[in-house]
Assembly symmetry: C2
Homo-oligomer: 387 residues x 2
């Protein structure tokens, strides 16, 4: 089995006006969809971040994939950089699954769980044509959480923070705790806080959070904060590649690494990350960006095969308004592993064409949360820490 064609399709999907420390989501989130075709007529699917920089990497690597055996992940690593591999490698696993009649989870070592728990991802947001309404206060967030829990059954609840003054966000977390006494809680201000603020927040929320994600920037600052709180610190910002692990381990900077196959180099690299975390006593959870169903399927097959992934994984999928595969459904807060073979998702060519056209017409080719925020607040600046 050899790859005969690697097709890269940039897409833009409608995205709600979700707030974060940098500003607000644009009306469309950019993604890239890859399709690998083989000489025996199979098609493998992958998905990753969109935008010009990633697209350039995907398109640069694509021609070198022709002739490659989809089982040859070492060969793929020789021709595709880490980010391109995050998309193409998933498509190779999908092909391996189709070729062997196996769901991807089987090829990753077998399922340790039949359904993968996800967290309810809570965002401060403006009203939009997205069914979620405005949420800019504690009441709004608790209401959003209530709907997340009622609709999907999520257990862990994660608040994207860094939006309100930190002590106001503490009040939001405490309101969530009151409304959901038994749901594990997380907050992620994306390095929007100073050290002093972070220490204060940690003091207020000790015993309340299952982990505190990226309050401050960089391994040394995270290590300093870790020495001052018993709340486990999580990151998808200061440990985003294997080379960050030795200094993070040496400094004791983080207790939970948020895996993300899109930028760690794929599913196999994620299994390797899990092995490093297990070996060095680090917890493992999973990070998310706005994404479509292909990524969700890949995340689910991966998480189903990793015993150490005991934290609920993050996902933006409840905010995904339009998809290019049949929508995947959460049951009791978890996504059942899609039936194989491969990823177990089938591409809707018409939907892909529509989202591809949307990409061509949306008016931008790079994610930028600052410009739309400036349309609301002309004084807005992306400088951090903000609080």
């Amino acid at each position: 089995m050899r790859i005969t064609e690697a097709v890269v399709t940039p897409v833009a999907m409608k995205d709600p006006p979700l707030r974060n420390v940098n500003g607000v989501h644009q009306p469309f989130a950019l993604r890239a969809v890859v399709q690998l075709r083989t000489d025996d007529g199979l098609v493998g699917l992958g998905e990753t971040h969109g935008g010009k920089a990633v697209l350039d990497e995907l398109r640069a690597a694509a021609p070198a994939l022709v002739g490659l055996d989809p089982f040859d992940l070492n060969g793929l690593a020789r021709v595709a950089g880490v980010r391109a591999r995050g998309a193409f490698e998933v498509a190779c696993w999908d092909l391996q699954g189709h070729a062997t009649g196996r769901p991807v989870v089987d090829l990753l070592g077998g399922r340790v769980r039949d359904a993968v728990p996800y967290s309810g991802y809570l965002f401060f947001k403006y009203a939009g044509d997205d069914g979620w309404g405005e949420a800019l206060t504690a009441e709004g967030i608790v209401d959003q959480a209530r709907r997340m829990v009622d609709r999907y059954g999520f257990r862990s609840l994660k608040l994207k923070g860094g939006v309100l003054p930190a002590m106001s966000e503490v009040e939001v977390v405490l309101a969530l705790r009151e409304a959901f006494p038994d749901h594990p809680l997380r907050i992620d201000p994306n390095t929007g806080w100073t050290m002093d603020t972070s220490v204060q927040v940690a003091g207020r929320l000790a015993g309340t959070l299952e982990y505190l994600e990226d309050p401050v920037a960089g391994i040394p600052a995270m290590a300093e904060l870790a020495s001052k709180t018993e709340i486990p610190l999580a990151t998808n910002m200061c440990v985003t590649a294997f080379e960050h692990l030795p200094p993070a381990v040496a400094a004791g900077a983080v207790q939970v690494v948020l895996a993300d196959h899109h930028y760690w180099g794929g599913l196999r690299a994620s299994l390797e990350l899990a092995a490093v975390c297990r070996t060095f006593g680090l917890g493992l959870s999973m990070h998310s960006n706005s994404h479509l169903g292909i990524s969700l399927a890949a995340m689910t097959h991966l998480a189903a095969a990793v015993p150490e992934l005991t934290y609920a994984c993050d996902t933006h999928y409840p905010y995904t308004i339009e998809d290019i595969v049949a929508p995947l459904s959460f049951v009791d807060g978890a996504l059942p592993v899609p039936d194989g073979p491969g990823l177990g998702v089938m591409l809707d060519e018409d939907a892909l064409a529509r989202l591809a056209e949307q990409y061509d017409t949306c008016g931008f080719d790079t994610r930028d949360d600052v410009t739309p925020m400036r349309a609301i607040d002309p004084q807005w600046t992306p400088e951090l820490p903000r609080w």
Copy 2:
């Protein structure tokens, strides 16, 4: 595909009287061969250490394998401990290969090399019915090395040390250097030396050795020695499980880890070890015990899939007098990856029966290098360090 039967067969293979710091090899080396049969008529092969303790573990795990999908390595890990997994997991990969029509190397990520370089393993030894003759002096070892190089084309040469006084072994290494100016050299006294001796040896052999293996015992002593020499230190004794890696990394105790799928938990665990070594800047080589062709095939598929395995792997195979698969042949110091599917080796049932009978009649069920040494030297004691 489900496993219907797990058969464990203890075998004894003729073994030359090879010397080491503990004494001398018994006339037979003990191994265990496992066969996994499936409901679709496939058979997967594995091999590991023999002797009562391992056999007990294999036999205790065997019944729990019935009903398992050979792709479900996570399921295997739930029912088999690390050592039992080292054998059964290889048999699962062999089955996966047969089921998919793929050589195991493909399922491990694809070949980064078509043939795996092995080292010429040099032993002080007594004369025996093994074709190698006596080697108890520098001349004998150089002669042995010459035959290793001429017959098999090995590049790296490894001397099993700890047998003669350390400074005499230094002279043997220097004689090898003179005879083979371009061959990488190693010596492994199996923790037979004191710290002072090790420092002295390292002083004499700096610039001569590619690495120095287990001169002293334990992570703290290896770390102390590492601070006193620029020769990379290698180990298969103080880092033999994942839990040893954090203290070894923190102390800077070793520069090269010698992988061994038999006791690290199989091929997948070995890939994980490789990932940890890559992440933390440790070198990777491969350890060997006396073994048959099934183990050699498994080592070769694994090593062919690991980019970081740039050191030649150790093997006792040139001393293997009788095998239970068709003998594998080195070409230019390397073993071509056996053609698949699976491990690419076929069991000779008659040979297996003969070696199994040999196990029943050899008179011992536990490796013991001390007793046969005492038959030669009644004062022999296994106390270390010896020199």
